[in-house]
């Protein structure tokens, strides 16, 4: 193949990235419509566990946390805007509220919930 000719077709890698980007966008937009107000302008979005939550947590812009300790670290990190709490995390609603109350930053928090 002549290396001077650049293919206009996306490479498999580019295609896969584009798909992932689109899938992330669909998943995030779907999740970000209804929220609960948390102290100091943070917002809690409850997301049913599905393929969409798998995509959301794989997004490099999203920080996944498993415990209240990790959650508070993410809340205090000015480089993180979106925090994902998987259904297996050791984090309750009261814990989320308490951490948001004492760290007055507005974050977007997605909490995965089982369908049951």
């Amino acid at each position: 193949m002549n290396s001077n000719i650049k293919s206009t077709e996306p490479s498999p890698k580019e295609g896969s990235d584009a798909f992932e980007k689109l899938a992330r966008e669909i998943a995030r937009r779907d999740a970000l419509e209804h929220f609960e107000f948390l102290p100091h302008n943070s917002k809690l979005y409850r997301v049913e566990k599905s393929w969409k939550t798998s995509i959301i947590k794989d997004d490099p812009k999203v920080r996944e946390v498993g415990s209240l300790l990790e959650f508070e670290r993410a809340v205090c990190d000015s480089n993180i805007n979106i925090i994902f709490i998987p259904s297996t995390a050791l984090i309750s609603d009261d814990g989320i509220i308490r951490v948001c109350q004492r760290n007055a930053v507005g974050k977007t928090i997605l909490k995965e919930e089982n369908d049951d």
């Binding site: 209804h34 107000f37 951490v99 007055a104």
Partner: protein, 1015 residues
């Protein structure tokens, strides 16, 4: 260890961030800040062209004078030579301004916000503010907001409830380690399900020891799985000295049990450290001390001199560490606060609740009072409620921004919507903008409706809160028997409660059927099959469409549950009455026409994407509806939406429709869907023109029957966003007025001509009598022997007759002028139409003419010119005869009645059965379509009409009946005195080629497709 510790991983990340240099400015001593540093830190608020809202004492002008009062106004100072507000921030102006503009404190809190900013000025010595007020009114939120504006670090809010405040200076701390420390290891073991049963038991015991009724520092989420608030349980300032010792013992036990001790290196040890108050001073942090007067009595004695330093009374104070040396504790011995060490970012907002709020609230020491000078928050106003509701719904306090730029916003609503969107997004990253819910975008575009609804809700919540004040309940509302201190405290209405109500309304929920609804016994087949719902394919747009309905339902339920259900019947009745006054619920019929024009919050907030002002979103919806209807008509179409009509093309069309909407009434044209499959891709919309048999002007080319629009073709004009407004203008005419006026002038002319003819006969008679009398007089003078008295008598008779003749001639001359005037009026109307009618009406009014029409109001309604805003007309649509067997059968028409209330933007369309696609499209367009062929149509039509004219006087319905009769033939024998619903249903099949009948024909109004003009 804290997350802000530079040794901590997130702290390291923060240090490596680009903002490093700016962060350091807030941590720099004020005395060392250079001119450049200050220029970078100081962000002006309230400058020329970018005003900032402010509440304050002003001279308020009113009729008859002016007096001092509290008003919401604004600051707009020259940034160079004036004195704008200054906020210190390491963030960019867009970021800082965006946070403040969005999270703006409520109007009555603005003076406190202003003063706090002034105390944070670099040269200010007093760097604290103490605000006292009822819980849930946004005090700590304001503290958090100031911290967010200033710094990129997370601003700390310390909950002082039940705490020994002395530990804010020096505290015992347990270090649980970073990523691989004991805390992380224990958490991981729990997540992996590997925590030993003995450790689980220890954790349960520890939870019992340290948890309080308010706070669960260790919560068992599932069997053997705990949520542990390590940040809190490791700090004396959080849980107290005695409890932190228990934590040390028990967590060390678990570390050993789990084998995490690594030969003792991982065991916990307590250290005495600087507490948050000293750490924040050293780091230059802004902090909020929440609920200070709920801290332990006497627990703040060591703080007294520090408070004097914070308020600027003294410039140096030293505090000693009482923990140092106790039980071998290591740590600092003392700390000295020095004025020259003050950092630019350092400051404290203390908040406190009014002492009547619960048993745990204590009265502050006199010394604290005098040192911190707490300021009471003013009672929350209607404006505060409105502000907070707008903020919660849209993320922007629309009402406060609107208040200060009202006139310009009213004149340029689109520009104001753009400004609101700028506020909503200022300083946000792309991801944050993308995360803004679509509903907020639509609400900001429809800001007038949200602002209006928030005002109504604000007024209602204000009254509700007022009724719960024990004294006002007794003396103003006469509810003294029902409202006492306990009930008042239990039911306190604050912003938190409103947040819950608004939040609940944002989610779709099952609706209750109306009280008289009927349902059937489930069939055996139904019982055998479990209902199936696909959770992932629920229609999203429906959720937004019913927001106002859900909010109203939730609010009414909340009113009942917190009053009527608790036996407070009088309060319940008062609240419902107030809910009606504030248009939370529809006011029942009371004859007040003005009230009926007030939109309820349900109508205001049932906003759909159809209301989206974003032209591309409108275009997208228009494209979807358009293509769906086209496919229904031509199932053979396989092309994708964009192949039928692109979004860009739709945008152009909507722009074109908007620019021609005003002229549509004059041109009597509407835009319809082009259903010609061969041309639709080039020209998606076609034009239809009105053909009105009541129009006296000559038709240019009378259309053929097959050009007349069918029901589907006509109705499609009202469901496509961007096109509907124009079409609602295009369906009205002035022909009834013109016809009526011509008829009146003709009748008048005929009457005058008859008078003139009769007068002319009378004149002839008089002239004959005069001639005879004159002859008699001449004879008397010449040949008769009449005496002078006889002659004189005759002369008088002749003079009298001459006068009568002259009067009669004058009268005839006047009548002739009247005939000419009426004729001229007819000719003017025939020539100039409505313009002539308006001019003639003005003349009639000036001359107090008797030409006033007793049916003027009903004609105005039939032409949508009524001051009430109500309009009713009927359009006749061609019944497609494609499937008709008898080709010689006369053509048929079906009527479509359009009832509009322009002031409330409500529309009811009544016509024959339509497709599900059209029904769905009408629902989205919020048009109530009533099918007059269904069972019980009469009642449904009457209900829809009643709903539309609710609150108007009885004559409105009578006028609507007349308005209906101008365009429909009502069988007087059968329908005289019957309601409009009956008349509409009975006349639905009347029209069939009756336009040859002059009476019926004169009423017909229809639209026909115009032929494209030749190039």
């Amino acid at each position: 260890m804290t997350p802000r510790d530079p040794q901590h991983e997130s702290g390291k990340a923060a240090k490596s961030a680009k903002q490093d240099k700016k962060e350091s400015l807030l941590k720099k001593k004020v005395a060392e800040l250079t001119r450049e540093d200050l220029l970078e830190l100081m962000k002006p608020l309230g400058t020329t062209g970018l005003p900032f809202p402010m509440w304050g004492t002003q001279k308020i002008k009113h009729e008859g004078g002016a007096e001092l009062g509290q008003a919401l106004t604004f600051i707009e100072e020259d940034p160079q030579d004036g004195e704008p507000l200054i906020v210190l921030s390491e963030k960019s102006f867009d970021e800082a301004w965006g946070i403040i503009a969005r999270e703006l404190p409520t109007p009555s809190m603005l003076p406190i916000f202003r003063e706090m900013l002034e105390r944070m000025a670099p040269d200010s010595k007093n760097r604290q503010f103490f605000v006292m007020g009822d819980p849930g009114m946004g005090k700590s939120f304001m503290g958090g907001m100031i911290g967010r504006v200033m710094s990129r670090q997370s601003p700390r809010v310390y909950d002082c409830g039940g705490k020994q405040m002395n530990s804010m200076l020096f505290e015992m701390v347990l270090d649980f380690g970073a990523g691989d420390g004991p805390a992380a290891l224990i958490d991981q073991a729990m997540m992996d399900g590997k925590l030993k049963p003995a450790s689980v038991s220890v954790l349960r015991t520890l939870a019992d020891e340290i948890n309080t009724t308010d706070k669960k520092y260790i919560a068992e989420l599932a069997d053997g799985v705990f949520e542990i608030d390590w940040e809190a349980i490791g700090r004396e300032s959080e849980i107290g000295l005695s409890k932190i010792k228990i934590v040390e013992d028990m967590i060390n036990t678990i570390i050993k049990l789990e084998g995490f001790d690594k030969g003792g290196t991982n065991m916990l040890g307590m250290n005495s450290q600087f507490g948050p108050m000293i750490t924040d001073f050293v780091e230059g942090n802004f902090a909020t001390y929440d609920e200070y007067n709920k801290s332990k009595q006497g627990g703040d004695d060591a703080l007294q001199t520090v408070l004097q330093f914070i308020n600027g009374e003294i410039d140096e104070c030293t505090v000693e560490n009482p923990l140092k040396g106790k039980d071998g504790t290591s740590g600092p011995t003392e700390f000295t606060f020095r004025r020259e060490d003050v950092k630019a970012g350092w400051g404290i907002l203390f908040t406190g609740n009014k002492s009547k709020d619960g048993a745990t609230t204590r009265a502050l020491n006199k010394s604290v009072y005098s040192r911190l000078g707490p300021r009471d928050l003013p009672e929350v106003s209607q404006e505060d409620w409105q502000h907070r509701i707008c903020q919660l719904m849209t993320g922007v306090p629309i009402s406060t921004w609107y208040h200060i730029m009202k006139e310009d916003a009213d004149a340029n609503p689109d520009d104001f919507a753009d400004f609101l969107w700028h506020i909503r997004t200022s300083g946000l990253t792309e991801d944050q903008v993308n995360a803004i819910p679509q509903s907020q975008k639509v609400w900001l575009q429809n800001w007038q409706r949200v602002n209006d609804a928030a005002e109504k809700l604000g007024n209602f919540f204000f009254k509700w809160r007022d009724m719960l004040d024990v004294e006002r309940a007794a003396y103003v509302y006469h509810l003294g028997d029902e409202i006492d201190d306990d009930f008042s405290a239990e039911q306190s209405l604050d912003f938190r409660r409103v947040i819950k109500i608004l939040q609940k309304a944002s989610k779709p929920r099952a609706k209750l059927k109306a009280a008289n609804s009927k349902t059937k016994i489930p069939t055996k087949t139904t019982l055998k099959k479990a209902p199936v719902r696909d959770h992932f394919n629920v229609k999203r747009e429906d959720q937004e469409m019913d927001y106002g309905t859900r909010l109203t339902e939730i609010l009414i339920n909340d009113i009942f549950e917190s009053s009527g259900a608790m036996g407070k019947e009088a309060l319940y009745a008062k609240l419902l009455e107030e809910a009606e006054n504030c248009a939370i619920i529809q006011q029942e019929f009371n004859g007040d026409a003005e009230r009926s024009q007030v939109k309820t919050i349900e109508q205001l907030l049932n906003i759909t994407e159809f209301d989206n002002a974003d032209i591309r979103i409108q275009a997208k919806i228009a494209q979807e509806i358009f293509c769906k209807m086209l496919r229904e008509r031509h199932p053979e179409i396989e092309a994708a939406n964009n192949e039928i009509v692109t979004i860009d093309r739709m945008v152009e069309i909507i722009q074109d429709m908007r620019s021609t909407a005003e002229a549509a009434r004059e041109e009597q044209k509407i835009a319809i869907q082009n259903t010609d499959i061969n041309t639709v891709m080039d020209k998606p919309l076609a034009e239809a023109k009105m053909l009105d048999y009541a129009d006296i002007s000559d038709f240019e080319d009378e259309p053929s029957f097959y050009d007349v629009l069918t029901l589907d073709e006509f109705l499609s004009a009202f469901v496509i966003p961007g096109v509907t407004d124009k079409n609602f203008n295009g369906i009205w005419d002035n022909n009834l007025t013109i016809l009526t006026k011509i008829k009146k002038y003709s009748e008048n002319k005929t009457r005058v001509e008859e008078d003139k003819a009769s007068q002319e006969t009378k004149l002839k008679d008089l002239e004959s009598k005069l001639s005879d009398k004159q002859d008699e007089l001449n004879d008397a003078k010449t040949i008769s022997s009449a005496g002078p008295d006889d002659i004189k008598a005759l002369e008088e008779e002749v003079d009298a007759l001459k006068k009568e003749v002259k009067d009669s001639q004058n009268m005839i001359s006047n009548l002739l002028k009247d005939v000419d005037r009426n004729q001229a009026a007819i000719e003017r109307i025939e020539k100039d139409g409505m313009k002539a009618v308006d001019e003639l009406e003005k003349q009639e009014k000036d001359t107090d003419s008797m030409m006033t029409d007793s049916h003027a109001e009903s004609i105005s309604m039939a032409e949508n010119r009524s001051k009430s805003g109500i309009g009713l007309t009927t359009i006749f649509c061609r019944v497609d005869d494609a499937g008709q067997s008898d080709k010689n059968a006369p053509p048929e028409y079906t009527p479509v009645h359009v009832l509009r209330h322009a002031k409330t933007d409500r529309t009811v369309i009544i016509g024959d059965a339509i497709s599900e696609t059209l029904k769905d499209a009408f629902k989205k367009a919020k048009i109530n379509y009533v099918d007059f062929s269904q069972d019980g149509a009469e009642t449904k039509i009457n209900n829809a009409i009643d709903e539309m004219i609710r609150g108007m006087d009885a004559e409105t319905l009578q006028n609507l009946n007349f308005a209906f009769s101008y365009r429909n033939t009502v069988d007087k024998d059968k329908l005289e005195g019957r309601d409009l619903g009956n008349k509409i249903v009975s006349s639905r099949k009347v029209v069939h080629d009756d336009n040859d009948d002059s009476e019926v024909g004169a009423k017909l109004k229809m639209f026909y497709k115009t032929k494209p003009k030749a190039a």
